[in-house]
């Protein structure tokens, strides 16, 4: 469904991505691993045109979206939902307003249908009945869930998760990991999860790609990652910095 070909991106003199190639098949989950600042989120933002590459292409359902004008990206963006690292809820709107927003933008006008779809999405993220709350009243984990509900309420075919468990306690992180897997099974969506959390990777991934110094250092199955003798991969999995006290 999504293909990234030779994607390169620099910010000033800092080259973040160097000819990155990735492919995500329909209905599967790809987890992109890498250290903080290695360009994982940058890859994700290219997939829906939030960033333009210096070179390379992004194909969504075979359509090159790299050079599409912002207004022409709307159709692509409605196929792909994104959960932002900070959840990026509209803080002037209630939970209900946040979830109604994408529906109204898609042209859904029937209040009963809007209410039903909001209730269904909140139910999927285990936040039934929380429509009236404002984002400022939610905990970090709840904000992520509401962000996820806003992503799925528009029924996208693909969901991009930007660091879905960062900043959450282990229990809430585990709950989010289960939710990602459950949504993938229930909705049959294609998922791309960007994370440095190995538990998320092992729990959610059908395939794993490890970014290192702007390149794809490993692309394969979870078992392949575990079995790899590569020292960079081993250090990442074990969380070893190589420094001593």
């Amino acid at each position: 469904m999504i293909e990234v070909q030779k994607l390169s991106k620099s910010f000033g003199s800092n080259q973040v991505l160097r000819e990155v190639d990735l492919t995500v098949e329909e209905g599967r989950t790809l987890v992109v691993l890498g250290r903080s600042g290695c360009g994982k989120s940058v890859v994700l933002k290219h997939l829906i045109g939030l960033l333009k590459p210096d070179s390379g292409r992004v194909l969504v359902d075979g359509e090159d979206v790299t050079d599409l004008h912002e207004r022409k990206l709307t159709a692509v963006r409605r196929k792909i939902g994104m959960l932002f690292q900070s959840a990026a809820l509209f803080d002037s709107m209630s939970v209900e307003g946040n979830l109604a927003f994408p529906l109204r933008e898609q042209g859904v006008r029937d209040p009963k249908e809007i209410d039903a779809r909001i209730a269904e999405a909140l139910d999927m993220v285990e936040l039934a009945g929380e429509q009236a709350k404002m984002p400022a009243d939610l905990s970090g984990g709840m904000r992520k869930r509401v962000g996820l509900a806003r992503t799925i309420v528009g029924r996208p075919r693909c969901i991009l998760y930007d660091e879905p468990t960062t900043g959450l306690d282990p229990i809430t992180s585990d709950s989010i990991n289960h939710m990602i897997r459950r949504l993938q099974r229930r909705l049959g969506v294609t998922s791309i999860v960007v994370t440095h959390d190995m538990k998320t990777a092992f729990h959610c991934a059908d395939r794993v790609a490890l970014l290192h110094e702007g390149r794809v250092h490993f692309d394969g199955t979870v078992d392949g990652l575990r079995a790899s003798g590569d020292p960079i991969i081993a250090d990442f999995i074990e969380g070893r910095s190589g420094e001593s006290d």
Partner: protein, 260 residues
């Protein structure tokens, strides 16, 4: 020294170019995308209705003080009855639009830059884009329409209250005869003077909204960036209003010569 001047010129040119691009995108969006009237009305309340007190007080006190100063000078030459006409011309041609522009830049420009800037650093603008909503359509167009409609009305209000205040100071308080005050006020104030006030208000509205939205949209570096955006919006808008006022004064005087 020369390289510093060159660098500043390049920066100013680049900034003007960015404002030009934003303005062009905004005008295009007004015709290319559906206008969100609900947001426009909400912004009209925020920009227009909620700015009335500050604009009314500014207009009234400026008119009052100006009338008193003119009286103190003119009465020495027996021209106290000209207070109304001089105050009216000054208010319509200069003080009304300029002071309203500066007050609105401070009150509304800062709020626009802070709100959009906060949305930028908390990824809410990226979230809008990811949901297929163009930030120009959602954030800039409603504020621009609301500002372009509200500012000329606010300028008219400031001028009107300034003239009323100048009457109160001149006639009941300082004892200027009412009949010549009113006669000269009406005789020397032309439709062209009112047109100048409204045109200036319209242009200043464009400056405030373009600069403030631009400063908001280019905000980065978290809370520090959000802190800088409103300051930059107010300072740049205010300086641009003062500079543009000089250009407009000469340009509009050529189109609407004084006294005609």
């Amino acid at each position: 020294m020369i390289s510093a001047i060159g660098r500043s010129t390049l920066l100013a040119t680049s900034y003007l170019g960015q404002l030009g691009i934003l303005t062009a995108e905004t005008v295009t969006a007004m015709f290319a995308a559906p206008i969100r009237w609900k947001l426009v009305f909400r912004q009209m309340i925020e920009i227009g209705a909620r700015s009335q007190i500050v604009v009314a007080v500014t207009g009234a006190f400026t008119g009052a003080v100006f009338a008193a100063q003119i009286y103190f000078q003119f009465q020495r030459f027996g021209m106290a009855s000209a207070v109304g006409s001089v105050a009216s011309l000054a208010l319509f041609r200069e003080l009304g639009p300029t002071l309203t522009g500066l007050m609105v830049a401070g009150r509304v420009g800062a709020a626009i830059a802070a709100e959009i800037g906060t949305m930028k650093v908390t990824e809410q603008i990226d979230a809008l884009r990811s949901l297929g909503v163009h930030p120009i359509d959602y954030l800039v167009v409603p504020r621009t329409i609301a500002m372009l409609v509200s500012m000329p009305l606010l300028v008219a209000e400031a001028c009107a209250l300034g003239i009323v205040a100048s009457y109160i100071v001149a006639v009941p308080m300082l004892g200027v005869a009412e009949a010549p005050f009113m006669k000269k006020l009406i005789f020397y104030t032309h439709v062209s003077d009112i047109a100048i006030a409204l045109i200036k208000g319209f242009v200043f509205a464009m400056i405030i909204v373009a600069v403030s939205c631009h400063e908001g949209l280019k905000t980065s570096n978290g809370a520090a960036g959000v802190g800088r955006a409103p300051t930059a919006a107010v300072v740049i808008s205010s300086l641009a209003i003062l500079g543009m006022n000089l250009i407009l004064t000469f340009g509009l005087n050529a189109i609407f010569p004084s006294g005609q």
